[in-house]
Amino acid sequence: MKAATKSRLLATTPILGVVLITCCGYLVEDWLQLADYVVLFMCCITVVATRFERGPTLVTAVLSVACLDFFFITPRYSFSVDDVRYVGTFGMMLGVGWVVNNLAQRNRAQVREADERERHTASLYRLGDILGEGGDAAALQTRVEGYLRTELGLPVLVLLPDASGTLKPRTAEGAVLNADEFGVAQWSMENRVASGAGTATLPGSRALFLPMGSLEHPVGVLALFPPPSFLAGMRRDLLEAMASQLSLALERARLAGERAEARIRAEQENLRSILLSTISHDLRTPLGTITGASSTLLDPGPEATLEDQRMLIQSIHQESQRLEKLVNNLLNLTRLETGQVQVKKEWVPMEEIVGSALNRMETQLGDRRVVLRLQETWVPLDPVLMEQVLINLLDNAVKFSPSGSPLEIGSRAERGVAILTITDRGLGLTPGEEERIFEKLYRGSHSASAPGAGLGLAICRGIIQAHGGTIRAESASGGGARVIITLPIEGTPPDVPAEALT
């Protein structure tokens, strides 16, 4: 409203200018020649012609000629002229107005065009930035839709085909396609031809469909919902440029995705074959002992003593336990890797987890001294999974340190992170192993003598990562290895209502 008033006021300034010149000229009539008036009016026309559109310029020119004629050219106060030469002057005034106005108009159009081109370049540049952030096709899709919606100020859909090449349905606010329009989009992509609003194909449609990708490799369709006047000028070129930029990015994302998939497949294949050979070895060895020992027990030699039988039974028992551990680890790892493990976080004091893990490990720990440095730390964690982590780490510590050497478990909280450490006084780590020991099937440099398939620490890492935490190992000062676990402490434990002590 205010702007409208302002522009209306602005439109009256040319008229005011002419009136002002006329009045002033009238007052100082005695000092001015007729030529001066012509120059003054000419100036006024030129100024108006450079600043205003054609209409105001024409009005100013005609009004100036009229005023000059009426007030200052004899016979005064009449539109008739004594000298025919004045008609030439009038023509000149009108002509100057026309020419100057035309030049100014063209100039303004060029500036506008340059501005728009600059804006378009900036738009494309920002789009490039957004596309450069990477991610898969779905991520690009949402990001680009959001960007184009704000940049162009109109609803935009990035339609992507599924594996069979059919566009997947998609809607956004103000951008809902009916079945016919969807068919048009599909046709656009398949024939690599733009269609819809502003094109030769179905110009009556609400949406404009720009195909992306090549005929052989269509990657999708950019659907825009432009208002009727939107597609004028260079906008269409801009949209085409955006579509081709987007199609390159989508193509890149598709290729990257395929490459990553192929790599993962190859890695999985490799891992599966290693896993199979390791496991068949690790399963067969204890089974061999069990089968052999039990068959000897069933059919003992003539000189078998009770002591011999006891030894055989003991080895059956030990090997069964080894089998049990391996099977448990395999199951746990498979559950973790297939995403079947859900972390159910509860607020638990670290002390409780450490206590129950030590309890379960009592037999293996034997008479080892366990030094506990536990600060009271409540941590949101899955108690079952965390106990598994601790058991695996303790099992490892026992395996790789001399019997009778002490173990140390520490826990504390620092800046929203719980830190749990387990230190043994064993052989420690070989430099470079700190990360690798958590890899599946990796067996440390000292593991040759110890049984195990290299699954325990991989399980630990899987569980800790599922908690959003970290796990790493280092050589402890004074010998031995230390595993350091961090777990995020988010939120605060629920309040427990106090009760009166009696």
């Binding site: 069964s320 049990e324 159910k344 509860e346 607020w347 638990v348 004091p349 002390e351 409780e352 987890i353 450490v354 206590g355 129950s356 030590l358 309890n359 366990v370 506990l372 536990l374 899955d382 108690p383 079952v384 965390m386 106990e387 434990p493 629920p494 427990v496 009760e499 009166a500 002590l501 009696t502």
Partner: protein, 231 residues
Amino acid sequence: MTQEHPLILLIEDEPPLRRYLRATLQSFGYRVEEAATGQEGKAMVARLSPDVVLLDLGLPDLDGLDLAQELRGWTRVPIIVVSARGKEEDKIRALDVGADDYLTKPFASGELLARIRVALRHSAEVAGTVTDPVVEIGSLRIDFSSREVFADGAPVHLSPNEFALLAVLVRHAGKVLTHRQLLHEVWGGIASAQPTYLRVYMANLRKKLEPDPARPRLLLTEPGVGYRLKC
């Protein structure tokens, strides 16, 4: 009930496991009957009134959990659930539908015999006369009549909730109690009570009763399931 030779009913479909259980249990003086299916087991519970039922969850004809619930509908016989699945949800459900304890395959015979002894003692207490108001477990002595607790002979001061929690555990000594069961016993009507309460009170109890609270000998945690007072 034959005090010297209690009858154990095995409801288990795997013959090797039945054979192993029969040999083990008989060598410790128990009488053993076997059922290979749920239906058969149900009939045998009604016919033989065993002293303890060992129930496998993975039966061919019935879901073990359903069977446990059904049995609980008409008999007080202690049910020890045996499962190969080892999932915490299964354990909790089994205990909540009325099973007395659970064992995860594979288990050592010592473990099994301990659970059976606990189950037999509890059913004797339930059936028997007034229980002793003073209970001694290890170095712990609880006097239910005066609500006094002694650790190593020294009196320990417990808050009412701490005492209530300890009392529930002591009354079911040796048995695992789920979070839900414990919360119900101690906080009963308070709907907002949650496992965190238990953890706070359990930590307090351990501080007061255990010589080394970080390595509890009495108040044991069953991760993801509940707590058990060792006896």
